[in-house]
Symmetry: D2
Subunit: 407 residues, 4 copies
């Protein structure tokens, strides 16, 4: 009897972890590290329930991958056991390169290296250690495998990654409106000429999925207070790096120190394998513990920003469709500069503008194929009589301006 | 101590029924009758969980009315105790005129008299019996009261009726995607210049509400198999009335007999008060029990249709955006006529076309006002950058063709 | 590709109906009839959400049977495809003999014949029609098959029947405390020496299951107002049969008439096959539609009781652990007799006592085996250090007294 | 208009935070700190969803306090606005003295000082800063206020603390069986002769509550793998303190360093107010970040234990009702000592026994009063015919033995 491990999930009930390579990968320290990285970073300052981790999300996505493959097989799509295992490996490891606070600090800790780059490097390393058992998974991950739909299950407009994170983020934030019918959508997946597609009758679920995703963007991911907190955290790291660059002493955990006092390139990562190991030691606690100490740093800018974050005195933020009134910005910045005695460059840490883009659905890059009975694939933007294509194609940009609360 | 009655609701947990007139109205036989009328009629043939009743829905809507009024009061909108009670009475009784199988048989049992007409007559009668205590409720119901927003809570594009039925229908059918954030939407209700409005930040919840409603239309209310079942039920009642008109004997409960063997006008209802009482004796069981007996009627058309309904051998149905191909219809009708030996008029009971309209959101008639900080009301179709106005304004018509399964 | 039918279930998400005999049985009119029989009968007068049907419950139980078999197979218990299908058939048909209002009217419509008797007769008939394909299912149902655990899954203290109905009744009534961890319990099922057992680590889930069931008994199944409504309904049928016996005319649907004006024995059912068909035409609507007409019957007892039920003016009821005070009963009965001018035998329809037994867990008849690592089976009453055996063995009897509300 | 803050809660929907002192306390850095302390400490190593925080729990408990007071007022129990606010303050601050990893490390960071002691000190400090506004709250907290039931709502066998944490822990772990009917229980609360009581009809809910709590103890709080992880974490802190005591250098955040290199008494806290501030800087990240660094410490015991925790190679654990076999323990300890070259005292870090007590319900200390109609208070252990008193009184002790996984 093959003893399978079962994990409790408040969303799906139970998640079964298959024996073998999948189990071994989950046991690996690099995977366990994701237990200490929250899926939504600092968002818990607005949604206190949103403390779920990348670890949990990834297990969930693997679970949905299993469901999706089960559905496709029942529709006579051929998928071998090896392909199934590899697709699950690919989704399990798709986020392994994320650093602390995920997207927020993506370019604060290492510049010019995305989490996808690091995921790839880590996957290659693991492949070495596991004797090439990840070969097919890596092919699928990089879309180099002939059965395109397997890659599309891992990464496309309707992949199991999105289906899990929307479901999970909805559950833990309590924003019940963001709910997507993951089980209904999965039950209507199919493959047509090698492409992942959704049966035509699923059109309302897909429309709903797109609108729910959009709602989650503005209600959660880019919620104005979340945005304000993320900007604050980014500014803290930026200031800390500036101070490090001029040799100021900063309390840091050893792993964090490596990245605060150096600027590594991709080449460095390749030349120095130890660097990847050091990166893989970082998690949210390194950042939080260090920021707490910095609340007492003698640099007034750093210590002020850190106090704001730790004690949740976030920037006041104006977020709107139209550009922010220049006069208003000018006035606020003048008052801020005076109150805090700031030079023009320093002022940007306290009062600054920016943009956010909600890139909901970009037809050019990726499509959601609806499969019609006559054997036609039609993109959802054309198939829907409700979601106007010209609108769906457009991404929405919003403008924001942050400034001190206590002005 | 005023002892309040508490009712268990799987959706809201508990619903508290206030003492006094509200309690007495709920105890009234006309209100209790709604326990025997299912909210979604025959829909349970497709969604087996959808057996919830008008009684339950109405209690739920009253509960949400209480929540909405609580929110508005907390925002300093003046609402007196009498107004609150009357708004609750109005929502409690808004559906009281529904006959068996609600919308489906609305014009099968009494022609030319809508359930709203009967609701009004019943409310007037109740008002008489309760010594005028329903005066204000009736005014609110008919939009004759100065505080327009109270009527809008009872009946508008965003009333507590819709909020409850979408939530409830979603819950009992299990179509979880249809979920609307009723609590979030209610928490963002406000009143501006006497009109009910939604705070601007609620825009994503409202978009979501509109899309969810649309999904429920096509996934549930106008689901093609539901449609097929409803058409079958309507045809049965039509055929039975035809037979009654020529004096054929039909098994009927006494109350149903009154309406099968007569065609009453509004005037009849006014001239003969007993008629209203008889109508108020009808519920789903009269129809079901009678249809079951008719499965053995000697009229082949009636008995065939009744067997189909009772044993769930529904019409095959084609439902699509484009009109159904005339040639296809012609062929099927020819085969059907031959197989069942039907005259042209009889054939319409077995194979027929029709249209359905999903009138989602009609800006001309009713609006959902979004309230912007500067004190501007903007309709959701203009406020949303995503739901294209030209699309929202348009209602969707679909075409269908029904024909025997066993052809 | 084998096209499987999928049914929406608000509890399990989706229920898949396998092709073949299972699908055909569900399509059969006798099975479809269960759509018109509510699982909890008249309970909806207390819990308005409890309108779910035997049809829905049975599909759910079949779904759990599938899950249980999947779990056992993963633990290397041998179960063939034929055994799996037959176990599913057995559970699908286990309730097929239920008449209208299930348990409440079990002995009001046909005396001395239980729903199990009728289930068996219907199953035999179906087996004939389906050419012996139900042979194994019937063996399993009657516990005549060598693999005892298959029967235990259908009918034992921890069968999928109980797991589904507790879960479902909890869901639809909204009594969330009654929830049992059906998925956790199923995941811990195993087979030891041919007997169904639960792994030892499941002990807390089983304790919880027993307590939850007990809670459901007193909170729902034997809730005092539910009890009062059931007694009323039983009395109505009893009085109607009395009147029928002396030749009084009663409005009845034809199928109901057969059973109101005759008293059939098991032998009658065997001698006259048509009788079984007539029984299989009955559902809740026959009873409700007839009772409504009887509200105007000239027999004052019948019409009064019917009015009380239809308008929900239920008996007042006293329910307690101790016998009801005789003096109190005497006084109330005297007042009642006088007010309603009743003879002593008539009085029993208006004011009467009775007992109810909550037979939670009877060690003598059936056990819940806990499997300990060393390969010992221990009954839950001995394995639990918390649920005292002497208490668990005891069934609880409560005493009640019903009398008119308007005294 | 008083603008109230609303917080999303996936359990209760929305939690409203009243204006004034309650809002100000929640904004205070000491309260915000609880955002960084997980309610169930290291439990997320077993239940990945269990990442919820003390902050979230405390808000939830305040919400339930509001509900409970609402219920009591509706039953004509007199509660003034000041008393209501104070009861809410008391529950809001009841856990404020918790250090990182809550109960697990309670005596690892400061010996002989409980979290209640620190809560009290912090509450006194806050009372000073807020000009005595917490006077009544502190009285209620310490059970010095005449209305005993207010203290009982904060702390008793059936307080809002327990109701929230059982509900919340169930939700986030996904152990759905642990669910308690918090809303039903609250709706049945009452006050009799100054004591909090539950109406007699609530008896099944209370039985269910007790069993659910017990289930949560063994399934979650004292789950054997959770226990193993907690023991590991405690041992790490103990070893680190030992090393600090002999002057070994340990990486620490500054606040943690204060407590690792000193042993403070209650007197120290009173004499040196700064100490309390330093304690109030600690949260989970200080511990995690430090333990991660210690994985490279030259002390083999410390580094080994830290690696085990961080990479989730927990002790193997045997947990049972009977004492662990001495011979087995002896053998394992011998093998362990040899493999890791450990002295007898060192060995206790790697292979050791212990006990856990599940002190469910101790009638001696606290009672759950059931109020019977005749005005009698009966303790649940006597009122229940099912939960045997002699069993309920008994606490369950289990024995465990931990040893290395890789033996």
């Amino acid at each position: 009897m093959t003893k399978k491990k079962i994990v409790n999930d408040p969303i799906y009930g139970f998640i079964t972890i298959p024996d073998g390579i999948l189990f071994q990968l989950i046991e690996h320290p690099w995977f366990q590290r994701m237990r200490r990285i929250q899926q939504l970073g600092i968002t818990y300052l607005v949604y206190p329930g949103a403390t779920h981790t990348r670890f949990h999300h990834t297990l969930g996505a693997m679970h949905l991958m299993g469901k999706a493959i089960e559905v496709l097989k029942a529709k006579d799509i051929e998928i071998t056991d090896e392909e199934e295992e590899s697709a699950k490996i690919a989704i399990l490891l798709h986020d392994i390169g994320h650093g602390p606070f995920s997207h927020t600090l993506e370019h604060s800790i290492v510049h010019h290296i995305s989490h996808e780059d690091i995921s790839e490097m880590l996957m290659e390393k693991l492949n070495g250690r596991f004797g090439g058992k990840l070969n097919l998974a890596i092919k699928i991950f990089n879309d180099q495998y002939k059965k395109k739909f397997l890659h599309q299950l891992v990464s496309s407009q309707l992949d199991v990654d999105r289906l899990d994170y929307l479901t999970r983020d909805t559950f833990f934030t309590g924003v019940s409106e963001g709910v997507v019918g993951y089980d209904r959508i999965i039950s209507m997946l199919t493959v047509f000429k090698g492409q992942l597609a959704v049966e035509a009758k699923g059109i309302y679920s897909i429309e709903k999925f797109i609108i729910a995703r959009r709602l989650m963007y503005w209600q959660v991911y880019l919620h104005k207070t979340v945005l304000s907190a993320m900007e604050l955290q980014v500014n803290i790291m930026k200031r800390a790096k500036e101070l490090a660059a001029i040799g100021d002493e900063l309390f840091c955990t050893p792993a964090l120190r490596t990245f605060m006092y150096n600027n590594f390139s991709k080449k460095d990562f390749k030349d120095n394998p130890e660097l990847l190991n050091t990166f893989a030691e970082l998690d949210d606690s390194d950042i939080l513990a260090s920021i707490k100490v910095w609340t007492n740093h003698r640099d007034l800018i750093l210590s002020t920003l850190c106090k704001w974050l730790i004690n949740r005195k976030l920037y006041k933020i104006k977020l709107q469709n139209e550009p922010i009134d220049k006069k208003f910005i000018g006035e606020i910045r003048a008052i801020t500069a005076e109150k805090y005695k700031l030079s023009p460059t320093e002022l940007d840490y306290f009062a600054f503008e920016g943009d956010v883009i909600n890139d909901i659905y970009n037809r050019q890059r990726l499509r959601i194929n609806m499969l019609y009975p006559e054997g036609k694939l039609i993109d959802i933007t054309k198939a829907s009589d409700h979601l106007n294509a010209s609108v769906l194609d457009k991404s929405t940009t919003k403008h924001f301006f942050c400034y001190p609360k206590d002005l």
